[in-house]
Structures are given as C-alpha cells and as structure tokens.
C-alpha cells in the first residue's frame, strides 16, 4: 500500500504518531515510536510482552498521557480531545467484562444509550453471531461468546476506528476463526482496525500491514508477505537425495531428516540449474520444496536484533 505524504489535515490517515515517548518511572516503555495508519486499513502491531504495544495503544485511545511526541487519531489529539474521540472510536480491551447480571441484549442496549447514533442492536447481534444468546445473562456466556460481545460493545457507537487488543488470546481454534471472520466483516464496513496480537497466523490472515514493535520502537513495517524483506531474502531449496551425489557448486548441506538443503538468493536461476542437473543425470528430486522464512522466523529475528541492540 502506498502512503501519501503526511500533513495534519490529511484525511486519509486514521492515525499518525511521531516520536512518541512514555516512561513509567525509570522504565522507558515507549522510546520514539513512529506510526501511520491509513483509513480503512487493518493494521497489526506485533511485539513481545513489555515492548510498549499496550502503552502505545492506550495513549492512542486516550487512557494514558504521553511524555513526548505527536499523536493524531482521526485528526485530533487524544490527549486533549478525548471526549470528542470517545464517540468515534471503539475499543476491545485486552481484559474486559461487562455486568454479569444483565442479558446480552440489555448490555448492548445500555451501551447504545451512550451514543447519539448507535447501530441497531439486532444488526450487531447478527454481525457477531450472538442472536441466539440475546436473552442469556452475560455470566452464562462462554469465553468466546463474551469476546464476541466485547466486539459488539465496541461497535455499538458505529466507530470509525476500532482498537482490538489481543482479541483472540485464550480462544480455541474454531473461536479464533469465527473472530477473524468478524474482523474481516468490519473491514468491509469501511472501518479502520488496529490489532495487537501474539499470533503470527492472526496477523498473516487479517492484516493489510504489520508493524513489529520491540523495545519501545517500530523495528519493521510492511505487509505480512514482505515484512523484514521476507519475500526477497534467501530461500531454502530442499529435496531428498544422497548429498555426495549433488555437485559441490550448489554448496549443499544435509539435515537430520535426510534432506539436502541448497540456499538461494536468486531462486529462479538456482532452481533452473538444479533441475537441469537432475534431468541430465536422470535424478529424481524427491520432495522438492522452496521454503521462505515464515512470518514467525522474521519476527523472532527482528525482536532478537532489537533487544540485542538495546541491552
């Protein structure tokens, strides 16, 4: 995605952060963080615990003050215009609960009453798939159902921007896939979604762009497929064969499971040379695969580099 040049008036940006800093006593939680998120984007923030993700998100939401830096959310400063912002953003906090004695429908009606132009409760129940639970008390919902109610509560004011802080932590796989489909349907409604997560597959499935935050800074930014030059970095070609038979010009290496590995920067050329050699010598390259570093590999390397640099 191409980002336009920034200016304060830029209406295409949902979020603009530059040089953000925040300390808790001697702990420097955020150390000069820059971020730009376009409207309509699903933007994921990845990072280890203590990287400053939640602090950053809570500054954007208006819960925390900042020490230094510029922050603009939907064109206003959350530090000074929190009240205006409240009606325009929705938040699914990391840990949230609502009154256990009210029903699902009552809870949504109650929250709807706080906004001038709320979404219809029926529509929200359909969107998050809680229609059958509308008359159940919140205390009788399963964990996944409560999380879906959290999302519905965040949407009740029809926000332009939605913050999802680790929305699927503790979900079973099917509940996670349900939650993902809800988030995708939000994007179809034209919402901007900021998502923090520990799960690489979640970022891979949902996000248009990903920022990796470590030690209070953005250390990498890109689409899930290009993050950390994942698409152009060295690939690993592997197949099963007797390694002594492979020409040494390929610099083959073997592993414990009987695969021969060939590292390649120019995959097309190396693959062509490899298969030509194989055809000429009538060799079958059993189980031939080209492997790219996974998002997780890239993430772990970035985080390790960032933490190594600051300690």
């Amino acid at each position: 995605m191409h980002l336009p040049a920034t200016s304060v008036e830029d209406i295409d940006l949902a979020i603009r952060v530059s040089g953000l800093e925040k300390s808790y006593g001697a702990v420097r939680a955020v150390r000069g963080l820059d971020l730009e998120v376009s409207r309509g984007e699903i933007f994921a923030i990845l990072g280890p615990n203590g990287a400053g993700k939640t602090t950053t998100i809570e500054i954007l939401e208006g819960y925390r003050t900042r020490d230094r830096g510029e922050v603009s959310v939907l064109g206003v400063d959350p530090g000074t215009h929190r009240r205006d912002l409240k009606a325009r953003i929705g938040i699914v906090p990391q840990s949230a609960s609502s009154d256990p004695f009210l029903t699902v429908e009552e809870t949504l009606q109650m929250y709807a009453g706080y906004y001038r132009t709320p979404r219809s409760v029926d529509e929200l129940l359909r969107l998050v798939g809680l229609e059958e639970k509308r008359s159940s008390r919140v205390q009788r919902l399963s964990g996944g159902q409560q999380r879906r109610l959290d999302v519905a509560i965040a949407l009740v004011g029809d926000p332009e921007l939605l913050f999802l802080d680790e929305p699927t932590t503790g979900f079973d796989p099917s509940a996670r896939h349900e939650a993902w489909s809800v988030v995708r349907s939000l994007a179809q409604l034209g919402k901007t979604v900021i998502l923090t997560t520990h799960y690489m597959d979640e970022a891979q499935h949902l996000a248009d762009r990903v920022a990796v935050v470590a030690a209070g800074r953005v250390v990498a930014l890109g689409t899930p497929d290009t993050l950390g030059a994942r698409d152009v970095s060295m690939a690993d070609i592997r197949f099963r064969h007797d390694i002594t038979a492979v020409p040494s010009s390929f610099e083959p290496a073997s592993d414990d499971s009987g695969y021969v590995h060939v590292r390649a920067t120019d995959v097309t050329r190396t693959l062509y040379e490899l298969t030509r050699w194989a055809l000429e010598h009538d060799v079958e390259l059993e189980g031939l695969q080209v492997l790219r570093p996974t998002l997780e590999d890239v993430y772990l390397r970035l985080v390790a580099d960032a933490e190594g640099a600051t300690t």
């Binding site: 939401e61 819960y63 906090p93 609960s97 009154d99 009210l102 109650m110 706080y114 509560i153 004011g157």
Partner: protein, 254 residues
C-alpha cells in the same frame, strides 16, 4: 445531557441490583434482622437521651433506619464500585461517551432509592411492632432532608472509600473495617446513653454516623432536631466528594 444519560443508566443499575439475589437479600434483610435481634435481646429497658427516657425498641427503629441507609449508600456502593473497577467494567465505561458525572449520578440516585425503600420498610415495621412514630408535617419534611443529605454524603463517602480498597477481594474486609467500629462507637448497635466514656463521645461527635442517627431519631422518637447534625453530615459528604474527585480511578490497581 448528563441527566438523560444518568437516568438511562439507572434502569440497568437497578436491573443488575435485583438480579444479584444474595446482595439484594442481605441489604434488605440485615437491618430488619438486627432490629428484631437487638430489640429481643435488649428491648425491655429504656434508654436516656438527654432529659428523656424512651423505649429501647423505639430507639432501635431509628438506629436501624440509619443503619439501613448507611448499608445501602456506603457499604453497598463501595463494594459494588470496587467490584466494577476490579473487573474492568469501569475502564470500559470510561471509554464511552457516558460521562463520569452521569455514571455517579445513576449510582447515587439508585442507592438513595434503595435507602428510602429500606427506611420506609423499617419505619413501617417499627410502627407496627415497636411503637415508633411515623413522622408527619414539618417533621416529615425535615426527615426527608436528613435522608437526602445523609444518602448523598454516605454515597460520596462510599465512593471515596473505594480508594482504600486495593482489589475487589479485599473489599468487604476494608469497607467493614472502616464502618463497623464507627457504627458501634456512634451508638447504632448499643445505645450510648448519657454515660458513655468521653473518648467514645468525642469519636461520635467527630464522625458523621452519630449526627446522622440523631437526625433520624428526631423523626422517629421525637427528640429535638439540630441543623448542626445535618451540617456535619453534609461537610463529611463534601470532603469525601473532593477526595473522590481527586483520587478516584476508573482502572484497577495492578
């Protein structure tokens, strides 16, 4: 705007209150239960209030009226708000356009509503079984003022008390530690009479519980009414309001 929000919120505060039967039951049962227990144990004598001597059972109707309001406004509100803060309910409300003023208005108005119900039940019970007089005329008007000032002040004290509650599990211990000794030292459970030790009388004079109870007595028992009692209760309420406005947090302490 705040008022519209507050009264919208009130419906849900009320629903949630009645759907938590143990809490609702204890709020209502305790004052009546104590009234029956105390009058059964101690209700055969008289108690000296200044120059007058009245039946202990009548005295307890006024005391338990005061106790029920303090339970509903101070204890209940403090525990319920601590719970809501600890379970992140408040933090989420704080992210919506519901103003803090609207939230607190709904909570305090509801606590007042429960208090009035409780005091009415206690008074009816007292009139039926313990010869308490039901206030009327000017006395009723003064009584309503005492109730409203007391309700508002003890609600403010309840909100301020949550600042001392580190987490919801510690809530009952902290809140009871704050209020129970004071209830005893203010003659709510055992009449102080005219011969209580001086230090107890001083404690009773400084804190708002006894002043509030004296206001209730003037309505039920016919002792003299002093605006100074209402003033002391109101000042405590105002102080609590300032402390709460400065130090109350919508987020759990973690």
């Amino acid at each position: 705007m705040t008022l519209t929000l507050a009264f919208g919120q009130l419906r849900y505060v009320n629903k949630a209150f009645w759907r938590n039967p143990p809490a609702a039951f204890f709020t209502f049962a305790f004052p009546l239960m104590f009234l029956v227990i105390f009058t059964s144990l101690l209700g055969h004598g008289t108690v000296d209030l200044g120059t007058r001597s009245i039946n202990v059972s009548t005295y307890y109707v006024a005391s338990m009226g005061a106790f029920s309001l303090i339970s509903a406004c101070f204890t209940n509100l403090a525990l319920s708000i601590s719970f809501q803060r600890d379970t992140d309910i408040l933090k989420r409300l704080d992210a919506t356009p519901l103003t803090r003023a609207a939230y607190f208005t709904s909570r305090v108005v509801h606590a007042l509503f429960i208090s009035i119900l409780l005091v009415a039940i206690t008074a009816a019970f007292g009139a039926a079984f313990y010869h308490a007089s039901i206030p009327g005329g000017v006395t009723l008007l003064r009584f309503v003022i005492v109730l409203l000032v007391g309700g508002a002040s003890f609600s403010a004290l309840g909100v301020a008390a949550t600042i001392a509650v580190p987490n919801a599990n510690a809530g009952p211990a902290v809140i009871n530690a704050l209020i129970l000794p004071l209830l005893f030292l203010s003659g709510i459970f055992i009449p102080l009479g005219n011969h209580a030790p001086a230090w107890i009388m001083w404690v009773a004079r400084i804190f708002p519980v006894r002043h509030f109870a004296l206001g209730m007595q003037s309505a039920f028992v016919g002792t003299s009414f002093h605006w100074s009692d209402v003033l002391v209760v109101a000042l405590w309420g105002l102080g609590a309001l300032l402390v709460a406005a400065r130090y109350f947090r919508f987020e759990p302490r973690r």
